[in-house]
């Protein structure tokens, strides 16, 4: 497809106002969820753990969005520019996660045994870890993560939005200049955040792979979210003809690839610990194979990997809207199950106890996330209107 004239994208039709209703829905969901969670289990370990799972879930989506934007920039990708703004909007919710962190901070003594001086006094291993695993340093690191994430999100968001107005190509060059350093910071902060907030729940266990594991799940999640958000936009009358089957096929190819990558990382970690058979490491998987947790683990292997693998293999599926929406929703459910399986066996030792608090906490965090997403999206166009590579993206066709 080629045109001899410059490409026109109507900013009114593709305005983010389509997402405005998410702000209201999200706010209501958030408040109701928070109220319900507090009413059901306020102040108990269950509340904090459910909140943590929900928090890590939505954080992984927002961080995944940051990664996706960084990658599109660093690789000078042309295919994905049409949908970059949608992903940027998800990335732009990162500052809200500082606010959503408050319940975790409030419940820190319930979740992280190394924060309790009596526990540490009993345990020489925890004493050895104290230079790193102490409340003060943990808190400072959290501030650092939120600062870095907010700064990166704000930078790419505002620069992209500015380019909508001025069309200045120097903005693209500036984003390209910052992206590599941004990627390094992303890698380090997301790794240590997951060490601080998830791995230290079991302070005697460790794995060098944990950062990569979280990352792989995050990328699967953001690719699924992108598919869903694009279809939501379609339903509001936006993005049709701009983000096409071709772009979604590429997102589907990436979803296929990163599903395999998640499985590879998950299996590598599991397998090396299984084979080495060292008790200080195997305890992690032993806990996650007790009672019904065992079934959850096996279900993840089939549900998060084998089923999507065969489902997404045919080209025709990658070009079919309905099927893509289905598999995206499925993978998002599986990603939640994955995080639930990583965290909850610490609280519920003998099996799955999925309950209303989990639902309420999910609604609370998710609602606030959705509200932030709606608010950010509605203030600008859904397409980077004057990105110099937009024409290339709009005319992109798969072979």
């Amino acid at each position: 497809m080629s045109q001899g004239h410059a490409v026109t994208v109507d900013p009114v039709q593709h305005s983010g106002r389509a997402f405005g209703r998410l702000t209201g829905i999200g706010a209501v969901l958030g408040v109701v969820g928070l109220g319900a969670a507090l009413a059901l289990s306020g102040g108990t370990k269950q509340f904090y753990f459910s909140w943590l799972v929900a928090y890590l879930y939505f954080l992984s989506i927002a961080l995944g969005a940051l990664f996706f934007v960084l990658m599109l920039t660093v690789t000078r990708a042309g295919w994905g520019i049409a949908l970059r703004r949608v992903v940027e909007n998800v990335m732009a919710t990162l500052p809200v996660f500082a606010l959503l962190f408050v319940p975790i901070w409030l419940g820190r003594h319930e979740m992280y045994e190394w924060m309790n001086p009596e526990e540490v006094a009993k345990n020489p291993i925890l004493q050895g870890k104290a230079p790193f695993l102490n409340e003060g340093f943990w808190f400072i690191r959290a501030i650092f993560y939120f600062t870095v994430w907010s700064a990166l999100a704000a930078f790419f968001s505002t620069q992209s939005q500015k380019q909508d107005e001025t069309g200045d190509p120097a903005i693209s060059a500036r984003m390209r200049g910052v992206a590599p350093v941004g990627t390094l910071l992303f890698a380090l902060t997301s790794t240590f955040a997951i060490i601080d907030w998830m791995m230290s729940l079991e302070p005697e266990w460790y794995s060098t792979m944990i950062g990569v594991y979280f990352f792989s799940g995050a990328v699967v999640a953001i690719l699924a979210v992108t598919i869903l958000l694009v279809h939501f936009a379609y339903a509001q009358g936006a993005l049709r003809g701009v983000v096409t089957t071709e772009h979604l096929q590429d997102v589907a190819k990436l979803l296929f690839g990163f599903t395999i990558f998640w499985a590879y990382i998950a299996f590598s970690q599991y397998f090396l610990i299984w084979y080495g058979n060292m008790p200080e490491e195997t305890i992690y998987y032993m806990k996650r194979q007790v009672g019904s947790w065992d079934s959850v683990g096996m279900f993840l292997a089939f549900g998060h990997f084998l089923f999507p693998f065969f489902f997404l293999m045919p080209r025709a599926v990658k070009r079919n809207s309905t099927l893509l929406v289905l598999i995206a929703a499925w993978q998002l459910a599986m990603h939640f199950l994955d995080l639930h399986w990583c965290v909850m066996p610490i609280l519920h030792h003998d099996g799955v106890r999925f309950g209303l608090t989990d639902v309420a906490a999910f609604c609370a965090v998710g609602g606030i996330f959705l509200a932030a997403l709606g608010w950010v999206s509605s203030r600008r166009a859904l397409v980077p209107l004057r990105d110099p590579r937009l024409p290339e993206s709009l005319s992109f066709e798969n072979v």
């Binding site: 490409v7 870890k129 909508d164 590879y264 590598s268 090396l272 080495g276 004057r386």
Partner: protein, 483 residues
């Protein structure tokens, strides 16, 4: 149109830099790529070939003596049961991975610039795999029984131990060698047909023609060919990830501090790509000048390769940091000692060589001038390979020589046979590469032609999409202050 000589400064924010410089058309590409293999052997070729052949001779002597006398001619002992042998194995397999990445992964990511380097990189992969396979073969003590690794029914009723990482290596590396060779050969067929059709002598026509299988550029054939290429690329991608992951499992499934680390699989893969790209860079810097291919192997290509080296080097750096941090975090005294010993023990010099070569030297590639300077690329790529060799040496030897029980501690000192085998393996590699350069088209000419602007069937007749025109915003929403 003014001839473009630099396709990497002022990188465009819209549109793409031209990949092939110098106003090439299809015929001139054919000539540029085929001529080196058709002309008389230049003197410069002998300058590389003779020393390589000499080193290959050393290999023959070293292998022969080893098989005759036994593993005792090496410096191996208790506790260091693996040293140069496995270091070299992992080193060569790692180098091979770049070829597959360039062929398969860059193909899947639609990176057109790969067409100038993929043929040579794939050839490099095959030769690297040949060098790699040598080492497990000869280190088993009774190499004439190497066939016992295959699941062949036998009179003893025994079967290979499939649960052992060494056997996974056997299957992984042989699969990798097979698939790489197939991928390389399939890619060669159209270019062999070109050589066949240009052949001046009967002998050459028959030789190229036999292997070209009667290729005649039929679109119906191209259709199945392209599908096979895509499928092989799709298969080779997880294969390349799995092979070096399996190689890393040789170490990671053990219980040895410094070896038993869950991040090893992706860390080794990143390191492999890192060293592989370094070797491709080393070879291409020389090849492009020797064969006068500067307009096809342009600064843009080297810029991209340098960026990949910087990225994978950073991933390796990330893995080093994670290993180091978690070793401390684990509070496992053996794990902590392993890392202190690496940096300050008897092999400290190997460790710091590794750090400076792998972490420090690629940092120059943050600067475009370095990414496109042939001398810097050549030197840094060699440093990277030195660093990556030492990385494997450090992992293997420092973890083995001082593990749990101090009374078991020992030292490893290489013997002349260890060193001769290492040098000899380079001899095998460079000899094969020299032969490849001499007789086969070094660049995938058919693929390069397909990325020229003239290859686009819609280039003529319709106005090409004006990628430099600014996107128009609807007038009624024209932003304030911009006209």
């Amino acid at each position: 149109m003014m001839e473009v000589t630099d396709n990497v400064s002022n990188e465009p924010v819209a549109g793409r830099a031209p990949l092939i410089l110098g106003g090439h058309d299809f015929h001139s590409i054919t000539t540029a790529v085929a001529t080196p293999a058709e002309s008389a052997t230049p003197l410069a070729w002998w300058f590389f070939f003779i020393p390589s052949l000499g080193m290959l001779g050393l290999l023959g002597v070293a292998v022969g003596w080893l098989v005759w006398e036994g593993i005792g001619v090496w410096g191996l002992n208790q506790p260091v049961g693996w040293a140069f042998d496995i270091t070299n194995f992992v080193f060569w397999i790692g180098i091979g991975h770049a070829g597959t990445l360039i062929s398969a992964v860059l193909f899947l990511f639609r990176q057109k610039w790969r067409t100038s380097i993929n043929r040579a990189a794939e050839a490099m992969t095959i030769f690297a795999v040949m060098c790699a396979l040598l080492f497990p073969g000869i280190h088993i003590g009774r190499p004439w029984l190497a066939y016992w690794m295959a699941p062949l029914p036998n009179q003893m009723g025994t079967w290979p131990g499939f649960r052992s990482p060494l056997l996974w290596d056997f299957f992984a590396v042989s699969t990798y060698g097979t698939v790489s060779a197939l991928f390389w050969y399939i890619g060669l067929i159209p270019d062999l047909a070109t050589m066949r059709d240009r052949a001046k002598t009967q002998a050459r026509r028959y030789a190229y023609g036999f292997f070209a299988l009667g290729w005649r550029g039929s679109a119906r054939n191209w259709q199945h060919y392209e599908m096979a290429y895509l499928i092989l690329a799709g298969l080779a991608t997880p294969l390349v990830l799995s092979v070096h992951s399996i190689v890393s499992m040789d170490f990671a499934v053990a219980q040895l501090p410094g070896w038993h680390t869950t991040i090893f699989p992706p860390y080794f893969v990143a390191g492999a790509i890192f060293s592989g790209f370094a070797m491709v860079t080393t070879l291409m810097v020389i090849t492009r000048t020797a064969l006068r291919l500067e307009k096809i192997l342009t600064p843009f290509h080297f810029d991209r390769m340098a960026r990949i080296m910087l990225t994978t080097g950073s991933i390796v750096g990330y893995a080093y940091s994670m290993e180091f941090f978690i070793a401390w975090f684990s509070q496992n005294p053996y794990e902590q000692f392993a890392f202190i010993n690496r940096a300050f023990g008897p092999y400290w010099w190997a460790y710091w060589t590794m750090i400076s070569c792998n972490v420090l030297s690629p940092q120059v590639f943050w600067f475009r001038k370095a990414r496109t300077s042939m001398p810097i690329l050549f030197i840094v790529s060699i440093f990277i390979n030195i660093g990556m060799w030492f990385e494997r040496f450090v992992i293997i030897v420092t973890s083995l020589h001082r593990d749990f029980l101090p009374s078991s501690w020992g030292m490893f000192y290489p013997t002349m046979w260890d060193v001769m085998l290492l040098i000899g393996s380079f001899g095998l590699f460079f000899t094969m590469f020299c032969l490849f350069v001499r007789f086969l088209p070094v660049i995938a000419a058919a693929e390069v032609k397909s990325v020229l602007p003239a290859a686009n069937p819609h280039a003529n007749g319709h106005a090409a999409l004006d990628l430099d025109a600014p996107t128009m915003v609807s007038p009624h929403l024209a932003p304030k202050g911009v006209h």
